[in-house]
Structures are given as C-alpha cells and as structure tokens.
C-alpha cells in the first residue's frame, strides 16, 4: 500500500466543492421541468376564460331593454353554464340610485366548486 501522502489536500478539497456545486446545479435543472408542469396545470385549472366570458356576456346582455327578454337570457346563461361548465352562474341588473353617474348596477356570481367569483360593478 502506498504511504499516506498529506500533500495537496487543498486541491482535493476544492475538487469536492466543485463536484458538489455541480450536483447542486443539476438538482436545480432537474426541478425546472416540474415547475413548468405545475404552472401549466395551475393555469389550466383556474377558470380565467370562463369568468371573463361570463362577465362580457352579462355586461352585453345588461343592455336588453325588455324585462322578459332579459329573463330569458338570464335563464340561458345559468342553465348552459351549469350543464356545460359545471358552474353556478347568477347575475342581476338594477338601476343605479338617482344622482349616481352610472345607469346600472350589475352583480355577477360565479362558482364552479373550486373558484368563486363575485362582482358588483357600476355600468
């Protein structure tokens, strides 16, 4: 067996440190794929487009003048959202109080079991 040589311990130590920092970098790269997946899953899960869509449909239909027509549209949106989106959607339009700079107050409620969205807006 070779005689123990105490020289060059610094070099060996530096070698260890470089190796471990390489491993650390490797772990960082390894985790980056998981981050991409969970982010994409989170984005798909959150019903951003559903809420935006319902909101713009409600704002559009708030201009309907005849109450019977508006009730029809309300029923349409509630029933179709329940059947196709698994979401409870309800909304209402009331006239703004006298003196308000707006003409209507619109409240929108959206609940798909995971995400709840409520809004009251002046229009």
């Amino acid at each position: 067996m070779a005689r123990l040589n105490d020289d060059a311990q610094w070099i060996v130590l530096m070698g260890f440190m470089v190796s471990f920092s390489l491993i650390f970098l490797g772990i960082v790269i390894n985790q980056s794929t998981v981050v991409g997946q969970t982010t994409a899953e989170g984005v798909l899960e959150f019903p951003k487009n559903d809420i935006l869509n319902v909101r713009s449909a409600v704002l559009q239909s708030s201009g309907i003048a005849i109450p019977a027509d508006f009730d029809n549209v309300k029923k349409d949106i509630s029933l179709i959202a329940m059947s196709r989106k698994n979401a409870v959607v309800s909304f209402g339009v009331t006239d703004a109080p006298p003196g308000s700079p707006y003409t209507k107050i619109i409240d929108i409620h959206f609940n798909n079991g995971v995400t709840v969205y409520n809004e009251t807006t002046n229009y």
Binding site: I29, I66, V73, I80, A81
Partner: protein, 169 residues
C-alpha cells in the same frame, strides 16, 4: 493491527462513488423532460390561443349599442364558411409566413324554451373528428340579438355557448 494510512484515499473513493451515483440519478431524471403528463404545457398554450381567437371574433368593430360582432352574425346567419376563414386565419397565421396546422370543430349549445333543457347543434368544422385527436375545448358566450334566428334556435333574444374543439394536426 489497524493501519491508519490511506484514509484520505478511502474518503475520496467513497465520495467519488456517491458523486457518480447522484450524477447518474440526475441525468436519468432530467432527460425525460417531456412525459405524457407534460402535455399540459402545450394544452395551455393551445387553449389560450383558441379562446383569444374566439374572443376577437366576438368583439364588435364599434362601441355602438347596436353593433354586432362577427361571431354573433355568423351564428345568427349560419355563416359556416366565414367562421372557418376567420377562425383558421386567426389561429394558423404565424410570424414566419408559414401557416400552422390547427383544426377545429364547433358546436353551439342553446336552451330550448319549451323543455327548458340544454340542446346542441353542430355548427362548423375544418375536419371531421375521429376521436384520436388530442383536442382542447374553448368556449365563448354569444348574445344573439333580434329576430330571424335560424332553427333549431328559438326565435328570440338569447345567449348561446359556442364550444370549439381545437387540435393541432
């Protein structure tokens, strides 16, 4: 009798072994970047683009109260060819000049007043669905104003849900 020589070499050997094992582990873990579970990432992009395209089509050109969006008049007048042209050009135009290969199939969901149930009719498609596509579903609410709505829709002011399946060929 215990020999104390060579301890540094032993430690180095053990450390080198550990380093090699961990390197192999990380390399194996990193190369399988795209597993079937990761299709979420492309699905997300496809879904965002499809709903952006639909939303563009459902935006009127002017802010007048009576202004109709392109999508509204397409549904109201049953203009399948116009839908096809507009949607495909929104989805498939790329910056490089070459066109993408997205395909779609559209259904319209509406409420039947008599039975108070949700029904559907097929509106348009760029290619028949075979069932093998990996499609994402994008939707858009469309308010239909005024009379003269084609059957099977009820002839009244109503909101319908346009559902588009989008997939890359």
């Amino acid at each position: 009798m215990v020999n104390y020589e060579g301890q540094l070499y032993t430690i180095e050997g053990v450390a080198a072994g550990l380093i090699m094992l961990m390197t192999a582990f990380i390399v194996v873990g990193t190369t399988s970047v795209y597993t079937p579970g990761d299709t979420h990432i492309t699905d997300m992009q496809l879904e965002q683009m499809g709903s952006d395209a639909l939303h563009m089509m459902n935006t009127p050109n002017t802010s007048a109260a009576s202004a109709e969006s392109a999508l509204q008049s397409m549904i109201k007048n049953n203009e399948k060819d116009r839908f096809r042209e507009t949607f495909l050009s929104f989805c498939n135009t790329t910056a490089g000049g070459t066109t993408d290969t997205l395909q779609y199939s559209t259904d319209v969901y509406y409420r039947d007043t008599l039975t108070n149930s949700v029904n559907r009719y097929h509106f348009a498609e760029s290619r028949n669905l075979t069932g093998g596509e990996h499609a994402v579903r994008v939707t858009e609410w469309v308010n239909i104003n005024g009379a003269g709505v084609p059957p099977p829709l009820d002839n009244r002011i109503q909101a319908v849900l346009v559902e588009v399946l989008v997939w890359r060929d």
